[in-house]
Every structure is written in structure tokens, then in C-alpha cells.
């Protein structure tokens, strides 16, 4: 019997088993990895719904829109009024929230706003809302700094962020708003 014939016979006899391995091995590896990573991905904000400033976005029981953005530096009159540390800027983002009639509950149960700087060649940095931040800003701040679960008609809040003066110079800034019940999806607005 020829060697080629023997080999072909072996393949034919073991073909189904080999096919099973070819399918099961990658499937097993895939499931193992997915198992490890799914919790990490699903628990934090990882899927963004992107929109540019001015556009309205439906997310987490409400409609959101960036009304206005403002940036003052520490050595301006407005900056001195708010006790900004030297070398920093204050970015104020006015967010309009329309909580009526988009979901079963109607109002978002609180939200977290973060400012993120990202770009090619730069490390991604992020800042938390100044109302919970480490820097004590002077008087004159906004009355509403985050979304409220009590209000059920359209309202606005102002999220303030204290950033280094060079933030956003050669990179893009986005405001990321996440509502806890709707994670891992989060709303991402590009700001100038």
C-alpha cells in the first residue's frame, strides 16, 4: 500500500474529529476571554453614543443637548473671581436636559459628567465635575451642577471643569455624560 494512500485513509477516518477540534478550540478560547472581559466592559462606560455640540441626543430616559460652552483662564477677571489656581482654565458646559416622555420612568436617576481630552499622540486625560473636585472654586458658581431626578420638565445645568491651560490645544475635548442605569452606554458630546 502506498504511503499517500495510507495518509489519505487516516485523514478520512479522523476527519470528523479534526473538524471538531478546529471548531471547538477557538470557541473555547473565545468564551474564556469573553467571560473575563465582559464584566470589565459592561460595568463601566465603554460604548459611546456620539454627537456634536448643538445636536440633541436621546439617552437614558432623557434628551440631552449642549447649549453653550465657555472657557475662562485663571488670569482673567472671571477666573480671579472663582479663585482659579494659576495656569488653569475653567471650562463651563451648559447642558440642556429634557426628561419628559422618552422612557418608562421619565427622569434620569442622576448622571455623571466628565470632561475628556483625547487625540492622536496624546494620553487620554479626564476631569471630574468641579462640584465634586479637589479644587475649591470661589463663589459665583452655577445653581445646578448636575442633572436632577426631581425635575420633570426641561431644565439646564452647568458642569464646570478646572483644567490645565494647555488642555485641548492639540487634541479634542469631549463631555461624557453617563447615567448609571444605562451603562455601558454613555453620551459623548464634542466640544470646541
Amino acid at each position: 500500500m502506498s504511503r499517500g494512500g495510507e495518509r489519505a485513509g487516516w485523514l478520512r477516518r479522523n476527519g470528523r474529529a479534526l473538524l471538531a477540534i478546529l471548531v471547538l478550540l477557538p470557541a473555547t478560547l473565545g468564551i474564556m476571554f469573553a467571560n473575563q472581559w465582559i464584566r470589565y466592559v459592561e460595568d463601566g462606560p465603554s460604548r459611546s453614543v456620539n454627537v456634536t455640540a448643538g445636536e440633541m441626543l436621546e439617552y437614558g430616559n432623557a434628551r440631552w443637548r449642549i447649549e453653550a460652552t465657555d472657557r475662562v483662564s485663571a488670569d482673567s477677571a472671571a477666573g480671579r473671581e472663582r479663585d482659579l489656581p494659576a495656569g488653569t482654565d475653567l471650562i463651563s458646559v451648559t447642558v440642556e436636559v429634557d426628561p419628559t416622555g422618552t422612557g418608562p420612568d421619565g427622569v434620569p436617576d442622576g448622571c455623571t459628567a466628565r470632561l475628556e481630552e483625547s487625540g492622536v499622540g496624546t494620553v487620554t486625560r479626564s476631569w471630574s465635575n468641579a462640584s465634586q473636585g479637589a479644587i475649591d472654586l470661589g463663589p459665583g458658581g452655577p445653581s445646578l451642577t448636575s442633572c436632577s431626578s426631581d425635575l420633570s420638565t426641561r431644565y439646564s445645568f452647568v458642569a464646570e471643569f478646572v483644567v490645565p491651560a494647555e488642555a485641548g490645544d492639540s487634541s479634542s475635548l469631549t463631555v461624557n455624560i453617563s447615567v448609571p442605569g444605562v451603562l455601558p452606554e454613555y453620551a459623548r458630546f464634542a466640544v470646541d
Binding site: A86, R125, S128, G133, A134, V162, V163
Partner: protein, 197 residues
């Protein structure tokens, strides 16, 4: 009936087995153990030069040894030993969660001395970070007087990290020769403030 297996095939199988066993043995002995897998990534730091880790940038301005220190908020703690007072600027590079310095340790020989929390908010150890904005202030370590003059104090190290568990993240390490510093009678330090120096 199948022909008998040639003798050289037995020898070849044996040699292959030995080869696989030796490769396995080499792999087993050179695999990093758990401690190595979880070790922090050390970033060497020198006095007055900024050192950058993944999420922590720090510049140590000065190190002094003193018998009495008065903090910016008026706190003046007594000690039977000595105070090692470090003036430094720290900054979170990437995000502003938790505390600025979860790990602030002076290591002399085998012993770790954590930065004192006795002065309350007057030192950086209780500070909260702001991304990209440096915070300048003191850290105070309380040490026995004989440790500072011991030979091991010549190779003391200051270790800083963002998390209280420094494993698997950047750890800034600066060597300090404590024995070479004169023990001053007293020092006044300022409150932590935003900005460099």
C-alpha cells in the same frame, strides 16, 4: 499482523520525551513567579527632577530631617524620634479619582514608614488630585532617631504611587541619604497649594 517496531524508533521516542521534559523544565524555572508578575513598575526619581509614571508625576524639591515641625495649619506634633520632611509637587496625569498619593512610604532597610496623617490636611497624604494640575506641599515621616543615623539610612528610598496598593502600576522611587542630612532643630512648612513651588 503488524510488523514489530524497529529498535531505533524506541530510542527516538525516548530522546523526544527527554527533549520535551527538558524544555518543560526550563520553561517552569524561568516563568516569573506571582510576585514578579504583580510587581510595580519602578520609575527612578532624582531630587528636583520630575519623574513621571502612568498616572503620577512628582518632583521632590527638598528632604530635611528635623526634631520639630510646624505645619501650615498650625499643627506642631511632638515626637520622641525625628521628622523627615519632604517638600514635593505631585500631579495626577490621567484621571482625578481617589487620593493623590495612596502610597507615600519611606523605606529604610527592611522597614517601611508611611507618611504621617497626624497633621491632618496639612500634608499631601490627604490630598485629592486634579488631573494635570500640580499640588505642592509637604510629606512628613516620623522615624526613630537611631534609624536615621544607622548605616541602612544611607540607602533609604522614598516611594510614591497613586494607589494604596502599588502593584501593577507605576511606583516612583527616589534614593535618599538620610544619614548625610543634618538634624535641624525645627522647620516650618506651608499648607499644600495648587501650582508648582
Amino acid at each position: 499482523m503488524t510488523p514489530p517496531v524497529a529498535r531505533w524508533r524506541h530510542a527516538a521516542n525516548g530522546a523526544a520525551l527527554l527533549a520535551v521534559l527538558s524544555v518543560a523544565s526550563v520553561v517552569l524555572h524561568t516563568t516569573p513567579n506571582r510576585e514578579l508578575q504583580h510587581s510595580p513598575m519602578v520609575v527612578p526619581a532624582t531630587l528636583t527632577e520630575p519623574a513621571s509614571g502612568r498616572d503620577l508625576r512628582a518632583t521632590v524639591h527638598s528632604v530635611a530631617v528635623t526634631e520639630a515641625v510646624t505645619a501650615g495649619n498650625g499643627w506642631a506634633g511632638s515626637t520622641p524620634g525625628v521628622w523627615v520632611v519632604v517638600e514635593l509637587s505631585v500631579e495626577a496625569v490621567v484621571e482625578d479619582r481617589d487620593r493623590t498619593l495612596g502610597t507615600a512610604v519611606l523605606r529604610v532597610g527592611d522597614t517601611e514608614y508611611s507618611a504621617s496623617t497626624r497633621p491632618g490636611t496639612a500634608t499631601l497624604v490627604s490630598g485629592r488630585p486634579a488631573t494635570g494640575i500640580p499640588l505642592t506641599g509637604p510629606l512628613m515621616f516620623e522615624l526613630p532617631a537611631d534609624v536615621v543615623s544607622a548605616p541602612a539610612a544611607e540607602r533609604a528610598t522614598l516611594e510614591l504611587a497613586r494607589n494604596s496598593d502599588p502593584r501593577v502600576d507605576s511606583l516612583l522611587v527616589m534614593p535618599v541619604d538620610l544619614a548625610a542630612l543634618d538634624v535641624q532643630p525645627s522647620i516650618d512648612v506651608d499648607l499644600p497649594h495648587w501650582g508648582v513651588r
